[in-house]
């Protein structure tokens, strides 16, 4: 691990496994790479806490581990940071399994630990996971934009109707109000709409 060049950030890999031979094989395979291995036994009930405390960037565990549901729930429960998960598998048709796994969250390492492939699999898992997280963030941003547009459109329509001004003038008025009050346009628009509703008798 000491040979890692300065420019490559170290990625912490947490292996949750009771098979010490396998842990050693992975450790050997990743010596001299950017991956830094930590090891945990699978049967600890405080697993979730330790995973959080470990600062792991990626988790490896056996697909037959009872802890799989706990580890996968990291991507479901918002209080915990989602992490890419790679699973050991003794299944004979990894391609089929690979197709079945959750988009961007998990991957499988099948059969024997091949030192040549472990690093590659981890690289791909991290890349796919990051891509998936970006997509999720983009989707969230788009949704937020849409919702803020919706409020601004409603406020504009109100101003056009009540004040008899053009759409451009309505937009400029909302923006000016936002700048003067140091608030987001969406917030100003929302206030305008609720105020109008209040004045109209709380429709």
């Amino acid at each position: 691990m000491s040979q890692v060049s300065q420019s490559v950030p170290v990625l912490n890999v947490l292996i949750i496994d009771d098979n010490s031979a396998r842990v050693a094989a992975v450790q050997n395979a990743l010596t001299g790479t950017a991956y830094n291995i930590q090891h945990l036994a699978s049967t600890k009930s405080s697993l979730l806490k330790e995973v959080e405390a470990s600062n792991a960037d990626i988790i490896i565990l056996d697909m037959e581990s009872p802890s799989r549901d706990t580890i996968e729930s990291l991507s479901v429960i918002s209080n915990y940071n989602p992490k890419p998960v790679v699973m050991f598998s003794t299944q004979d048709n990894p391609a089929l399994l690979q197709e079945s796994i959750s988009a961007g969250v998990s991957s499988y390492i099948s059969g024997q630990i091949d030192p040549q492939r472990v690093k590659f699999i981890l690289d791909v898992a991290v890349a796919r996971f990051n891509e998936f997280q970006e997509l999720k963030q983009e989707l969230k941003d788009t949704k937020e934009k849409l919702s803020s547009r919706k409020w601004i459109d409603q406020a504009k329509a109100l101003l056009i109707e009540k004040q008899g001004i053009t759409e451009q003038e309505a937009y400029t008025a909302i923006r000016k109000m936002a700048m003067e009050n140091g608030e987001k346009m969406e917030v100003v628009a929302k206030n305008l709409v609720s105020m109008a509703k209040l004045l109209a008798g709380g429709r």
């Binding site: 009930s45 706990t70 209080n79």
Partner: protein, 377 residues
Amino acid sequence: MSSISSLTPISLLNQIEKPHLDLGIVALTDSAPIIMAQQLGLFSKWGLNVELHMQNSWATLRDKLHTEKLDAVQMLAPMPMASSMGLLGPACPLLTAFNLSMNGNAITLSQSLFDDIKCLNGGVIPDLPLAGQWLAEIIEKRKLSPSYKPLTFAVVYPFSCHHYQLRDWLESGGIDVDKEVDIIIIPPTQMTQALADNTIDGFCVGAPWNTKAVRDGIGCTVITSCDIWSESPEKVLAVTQAWQRANPNTFLALIAALQEACEWLAFLPNRFETAIKLSQPEYLNEKLDIIAPALLDSCLTSLESSPREIPAYIRFYTRQANFPTLAQGHALLVDMQRAGQVPNSLTDLQLKQWIEQIYRPDLYQQMRQIQQQVASM
């Protein structure tokens, strides 16, 4: 498919497409219909040679079903919906035509949390089932402490009745579940340890794990799923829609055998025998005094109080219990929506279309007809 109903039982048995089946289960008390069908030779009676495969996690059981490593599996009732809709995971169209069990879950609180509630009640155990308001009071009280941490509860899987039952109970006390408590996922076999070492303050889980927590003196079972919901499917038998199309007769034979196992389980003395079987190392590997109570409609509460009698604590059979209705599917989807797992934007019509693909009461009825023909022979 239209040819099936005209088949005689004998020709059904002659036309089993896939006599050897790999069946996935998670070792729990309500695996009893599948384990007993095997023990009683009911699968072979219907021309099937079934091998049971214990799975340690629901996600791995799901992946193996999707990729046909397993032909059929015992699933948490909401899982076929989650798989078919591709919720937080890969999409694969599944179907169910058989409820393996109803009810059977309960909520257990840690001894220290329960002692706090007793304290609020002047040192006396409050009435059970415990009202959710007690928890709300505890939360309000603890919020005043500078070292306040939200209560943490565990359930076995995000798509589970346990999860929705816990939410419903907490909400009934006026608790804002998403803001005021943490819900985490822990496998059933590790629940009691997590409660013992204070990783969690309580859990909602199926038998035998509530009983074990009480016997170990680490928790108090305060309410059962029978107190929260009435008669809802808990575990179902699931296959992929493609598998059922390829093996229609095999599928009917499989659920016919399971129906007979469920009928056998309706008789109380048989349930004690079942408890003995389940306690063996190859199944639950727990002591009889941990497994038997729930099967005998007894809910242990705490070491200092008597058990509660819960009629149909785990229900395996009534004339209607194993019949999966569209209404049951709809109710589950609404629960999933309320937990924020199914988009609220889906219209009622869209929900209905999903349910009609996944819930197949017609297949259950075909199986019943064949059973009646067998009985009249």
